[in-house]
Each structure stands twice: as C-alpha cells, then as structure tokens.
Symmetry: C2
DNA sequence: CTCTATGCAAAAACTTTGCAGGGAT
DNA sequence: ATCCCTGCAAAGTTTTTGCATAGAG
C-alpha cells in the first residue's frame, strides 16, 4: 500500500508535501524526527508537525518522545520496542526483547533507555 | 540515610534549598518533575534544574523524559520500569514487569507508554 | 575568606497557533 | 466553489546560561 492509497483510505487530501512526507516514513526502517526529515524535504516545520499529528490521529503513524526532547515518528506496524542511547541519541527498533506480564494496562510502546551496542564498546 | 548525610557523602554543600529538594524526592514514591516540586518548595527553576543535574552526576538521582516533554526525576534505587499514561500523563513505577534478553546493550531505564489502569476503565 | 549556590533575566530548543494565500476535489 | 492544506511569523513550553549577590565550610 503506497502513500496515496493510505491517505485516500483515511479521507486525507492528497497533496505533494503530505504524500512525500508519508513516503519518507514508509521507506524508513527506523523512527525519524523533524530534523532528519527536513534535510530531504525542505518542508516547513508547521506542515511537518501538523501532518504528523493528523497521521497519528488516524492511526497511520505512531509517535513518541526521545531523550533529547524531540518527537520521533514511525509507521504503525507490529508492536516492537525502541532503544534510545543516552550517549549518541540514536533511536533503534528492537524485536524480541523479552516477555511482559502486565494486567490492566494497555501498552502502546516500550522504550529502553541506556547505552547502545556501538557506544558500549 | 537522610538528605544531609547523602549530600555529605558526595561532598555537596548542604544548603536549605538543596536539602529540602532532596528530601522531597526521598519521600516520594514516584518520579517528579519541576511543576510538581515547585508547588511545595517555591524554588526557582534554575536552582531546581541545576541541583537535579548535580544529583544525577553523583548518582543519587535518576532522570528521564516523559511523553509531555518534561523531565522526571527519582531517587536511584533498584532497577524498575516506569509506566507513562498518554491520557492522564501520570508516571508510575512498576516492579516485576517481565524479563529482558538484550545482549550488548546497557539498559538504564525501561519505560512503557500506553493507557494506565484508571484511564483504561 | 574562598568557592560554590541561589535567583533573576534572558536565551535556547522544540513545537504549536494565527492568519492569509494556495491547492485538491 | 468550498474547504482543507501550506508556510511564514509569532507565541508557547520546558530547560539552560550569564551574572551579581548570598551563604556554606
């Protein structure tokens, strides 16, 4: 499913900035923040943040805060964990982290904070 | 061990603002941010943030970012997870969340994001 | 007495809001 | 033609920095 189809499905008008924005996230294998996206797209921050909010509202995109006060976004997909490195501030996706036993809570995202493999050497 | 003893142990000058600040965290059962602390203490934000940074540096306090762009702090103790509710923005401590199997990473903090028990009803 | 801590004011960093013009359907 | 989208400018929020004064050891 491409960007245009996703937007149509959620009744969002298909504009060039919006389509290329979603495309960037569809093609990324890790969460991205505004700083990373603006380099390629030269899109105004207002447009970025408003579209990301819209995508979050319709459930296409999942957003969360990193350690550096920036908000990271990724395409909603199978649930997985994220690792945020306090040294290099990288944000990675992790699969098969372990098992959770929590009753009564609805867990949308889990984030591990610490020192990543590279920085740990 | 009280606030004064802890500060002496780490060679930090014992001042009233600093002592009462640490006391608040010693007596709290959950992480706190500046907004919550200032209500009781009427301490300037500069003093708050600089002392928290100092406490973090000597290892007395552990800090992390919530979902609302605020930094939360708690007394360093046995490792445990935190749950941040995206609806009410509460920050809770959790014990016995599950097991982790991560090799090569050093995990300092584990944060679950979602909807808490109360908001889930 | 010396050196660190405090608090005000101002800056910094990221995100949001207001508003006028432009574009999709 | 209508209504949503875009981008500039300005404001909002949380945290940090500069600097003069006050206080601990």
């Amino acid at each position: 499913m491409n960007a245009k189809e996703i937007m149509n499905e959620h009744n969002l008008k298909v504009t060039n900035p919006r389509a290329s924005l979603l495309e960037v996230f569809l093609q990324s294998d890790r969460p991205l923040c505004y700083d990373e996206v603006k380099i390629d797209l030269k899109m105004d921050k207002t447009t970025f943040y408003r579209n990301m909010t819209t995508f979050e509202e319709v459930g296409v995109i999942n957003g969360f805060e990193s350690d550096d006060k920036k908000r990271y976004y990724e395409v909603s997909k199978t649930k997985h964990a994220h690792f945020i490195c306090k040294k290099c501030h990288s944000v990675e996706c992790l699969n098969e982290v372990g098992t959770l036993n929590l009753i009564g809570y609805q867990v949308d995202n889990f984030i591990l904070h610490g020192t990543c493999k590279s920085c740990n050497q």
